[in-house]
């Protein structure tokens, strides 16, 4: 296995870590207005207040890592999805400051709660659309993006955007099932059930749409022998979906969250099947875009030393704030 492949997996890991960890933060933001003003909303927000910042840092690692390990891909994808990236960043501004601002200004708390939801929704939608824009293909000439600045807006990207919003809502709802009690938890169960249905329907739509975007995708999914591997992805998805609904019906507290993570992992695997070995589909392979070996080795040393430590103290921070949120916040 060469270094470029290792780096592709590291970036994929960072993106996956971001999607699931900030995914449940953003999902809580999206579902926030359905919780009662007062204790329910406070608890929903308190359940992520100590960890959201760390979760969001994976986005910086995903973006910064892409810049460092695959600079050409970074230099093409970001201009190609320019308005989406800007919208995502501004959404994250509103979402991030709302965590602090809503406590500082009770008179305008309703506004900051709205900003929390609006920012989360815009960021989630934009992220899903970036993925769709990448999959439907971008125009490249030489080493730069050659399309116009609205190429990303198509029915397909709208579908991937809405699918991401639903998926994040599922993560958020199942996280809240785990962290809340009483009426608020019952509400979270209902939300989880509905967002699970929405997620699965939209995931199916995207999965059926994608192979027909491009003959190369179709081949990767349906030609032998890759079909034997690729066909496991929808099969496992169906199995996980079954256990997810069963867990929700039987009022399991933790398993719905982990099973939802499993759904995202399979989505990631499906993405891998479609894209591999391209980073910009059918234009730029990971080897075309890769940084030179010296950069890869230098960073790999850093990742090898720091990533286990990061995972350890991140786990510790989650452990410190384990259990139900309770009425009194974290004090």
């Amino acid at each position: 296995m060469d270094l470029t492949v290792i780096w592709a997996f590291i970036i994929a890991f960072a993106v996956f870590a971001y999607v699931v960890m900030d995914g449940f933060d953003l999902g809580i933001g999206i579902l926030f207005p359905t919780f009662k003003v007062g204790a329910e909303r406070d608890q929903a927000m308190n359940s992520i207040a100590p960890v959201w910042d760390g979760n969001e840092t994976w986005l910086v690692l995903g973006g910064g890592g892409l810049f460092a390990a695959f600079p050409l891909a970074y230099a093409i994808i970001l201009p190609a999805t320019y308005p989406l990236i800007i919208a995502m960043l501004l959404g994250l501004v509103f979402r991030g400051v709302a965590f602090e601002f809503r406590w500082r200004d009770p008179r305008h708390r309703a506004f900051w709660d709205f900003a929390f939801t609006g920012g989360s929704l815009v960021a989630a939608m934009a992220q899903g659309m970036v993925l769709g824009a990448l999959l439907q293909g971008v125009e490249v000439s030489g080493r730069t993006y050659a399309g116009s600045w609205f190429d990303w807006l198509t029915p397909y990207t709208l579908l991937t955007g809405i699918g991401t919003v639903a998926g994040y809502a599922l993560l958020g709802a199942t996280w809240l099932v785990w962290k809340l009690e009483g009426d608020a938890q019952s509400h979270a169960y209902r939300l989880a059930f509905r967002s699970a249905i929405a997620t699965l329907v939209l995931l199916a739509c995207v999965s059926l749409y994608t192979p027909f975007l491009d003959a190369a995708y179709f081949d990767r999914w349906f030609a032998m022998p890759s079909f034997l591997f690729a066909s496991q992805v929808p099969l496992l998805t169906a199995i996980i979906a079954y256990f997810l609904f069963r867990g929700l019906r039987r009022k399991h507290e933790a398993s719905p969250f982990w099973l939802s993570l499993g759904l995202f992992l399979l989505g990631m695997a499906g993405l891998g099947v479609s894209m591999w070995p391209y980073v910009v589909p059918d234009q730029i392979t990971i080897w075309d875009a890769a940084a030179p070996e010296r950069s890869q080795i230098f960073m790999l040393v850093g990742v090898g030393i720091t990533l286990p430590l990061i995972l350890a103290y991140t786990a510790w921070a989650y452990w410190v704030f384990r259990g139900k949120v309770g009425q009194d916040g974290y004090h």
């Binding site: 204790a39 100590p50 230099a75 308005p83 501004l90 991030g96 400051v97 500082r104 410190v320 704030f321």
Partner: protein
């Protein structure tokens, strides 16, 4: 609506705007994180409630400032790709890894321990909590280390090779890239600037409350600590700035020529132009007030040393003089004003009047935001002063931008301006509201409940009357 604008100019304005706004928050939080670590350390060492009160007081402010720093910082990590994609492609193999190290060694450290620092005192105990505070402070410093290394490499690039595809590639030694010639100077000068900025904010808040209530022991303590910083660190900063300037003269002489307003060469001793109006069309400084030969004395330590001027530089390689000339003077002026406050405070301390001289307090109050102005002015000096290059002498700014149409860049710029002014003005207002309430005994921590100070669990005592003040405050010990 932006069709008639120049996309390159809009992209430059956007970067300048977003990075200037962003840097305000780290300039404050680098210093404040260290100050919080010192306060908590003193509390653990002495057991004095006063230090815990001050810790909690500033922690609430830190939480708001840090959140704004995070959200505006994420924007920066994507600006390279969105607006400067050609630069990203070319320089990515060299500076990308340094920025990845920043994420791995600094951002995760800050973010991972911030939650415990803000909300975890009662869950992890005092010592582990102190460790978390130290990790956050360390993270802010490590972050400055890497990003300043990146910036310095762009100013004084070393240790690279040119690839056949036009990319800058790392040479044999990463040490040569990280510790490029201007980096040590820039790191020291910038980090001290952050400490001074915070010290003057803390001093200004202390002074404000001393003016209202001279006997407030909490205000006295923070004012005294801040004035020690001013007295000790401002002179060090002026010395560090001078060293940094000499380094710039060696590696980026055009920048120093613009800072000094030296359009012409001076073969036998260059004057120090104190003030004047640079006129680049006529290539001279109008209405100049100058000290003969003083510039040669400062830069070469010799009254008669020759100094080259911008007449030795082709016009298309010159930085804009007016902006650099003025921003440099603003920075230096504020530096000396800080030195003056520090000296004044020493005199007051010597006479045992530190808490009594209200004119000193008024001056400190006026100087409270001065650090931010100086820091931004300093960055303008160094960034505009390296134009027209983004990688010095190797890649021109005009060749580094993304292939975007002006309307795309203009619309996003407009969005950033509207959102930043709205969101960060409100955040600054909240910070000032926190600062305007006096620090008092049994200062409450970062609050996250609707129900006020009474805890539903019933373990903690109900509200107690604050003996020194009029407000009811919670008496729970572990809360931070």
């Amino acid at each position: 609506m932006f069709d008639n604008f120049d996309a390159l100019l809009l992209a430059r304005i956007q970067f300048a705007f977003t990075v200037s706004f962003h840097f305000i928050f780290p300039a404050f939080s680098i210093g404040l994180a260290s100050y919080l670590a010192v306060l908590e350390g003193l509390w653990l060492k002495t057991g004095k409630q006063l230090y815990l009160d001050l810790f909690r007081y500033w922690l609430k402010i830190f939480a708001v400032a840090f959140a704004m720093g995070v959200v505006s910082g994420i924007v920066m990590s994507y600006q390279f790709g969105t607006n400067w994609s050609v630069f990203s492609d070319k320089a990515g193999p060299v500076i990308g890894p340094l920025m990845a190290y920043e994420v791995l060694t600094a951002f995760f450290l800050e973010a991972g321990f911030l939650g415990v620092m803000l909300f975890g005192m009662s869950r992890v105990g005092k010592k582990l909590h102190f460790a978390a505070t130290c990790m956050v402070a360390l993270g802010t410093f490590v972050s400055a280390f890497w990003i300043l290394s990146v910036n310095s490499w762009m100013q004084t690039p070393t240790g690279f090779e040119m690839g056949a595809n036009g990319q800058f590639l790392p040479g044999k030694s990463w040490w040569d890239i990280i510790f490029n010639p201007s980096f040590p100077y820039r790191l020291v000068h910038t980090v001290i600037a952050a400490y001074l900025t915070t010290a003057f904010v803390v001093g200004g808040v202390g002074a404000w409350h001393l003016l209202k209530e001279a006997s407030n022991s909490h205000a006295r303590k923070m004012f005294s600590m801040a004035m020690w910083m001013a007295a000790l660190v401002a002179p060090i900063q002026i010395f560090a700035g001078d060293m940094h300037g000499l380094n710039t003269l060696e590696h980026q002489p055009q920048k120093v020529m613009a800072m000094e307003g030296h359009y012409q060469s001076h073969p036998d001793g260059a004057p120090l132009i104190l003030f004047g109006i640079p006129d680049s069309a006529e290539k001279r400084v109008k209405y100049a007030v100058e000290i003969p030969k003083a510039s040669s004395l400062i830069l070469k330590h010799d009254l008669n040393a020759p100094l080259a001027g911008l007449d030795t530089i082709p016009d298309d390689q010159e930085p804009p003089v007016g902006i650099v000339f003025w921003s440099f003077r603003i920075m230096v002026g504020i530096g000396f004003a800080m030195l003056g406050i520090g000296a004044w405070s020493l005199l007051a301390r010597l006479r045992r009047k530190l808490y009594d001289w209200s004119w000193l307090h008024r001056a400190a109050l006026v100087m409270a935001p001065s650090g931010f102005v100086a820091v931004i002015a300093g960055w303008i000096t160094t960034e505009v002063g390296r134009q027209p290059y983004v990688i010095y002498n190797l890649l021109r700014t005009e060749d580094a931008a993304s292939p975007l149409a002006a309307p795309a860049v203009g619309a996003s710029l407009l969005a950033f301006v509207l959102v930043y002014f709205a969101v960060f003005s409100v955040g600054t207002w909240y910070i000032m509201k926190l600062m305007s309430s006096a620090p008092h005994p049994a200062e409450p921590g970062v609050k996250r409940t609707e129900t006020g100070p009474i805890r539903t669990a019933g373990i903690t005592p109900g509200p107690t009357q604050n003996p020194g003040g009029t407000q009811p405050v919670p008496g729970n010990e572990g809360e931070v």
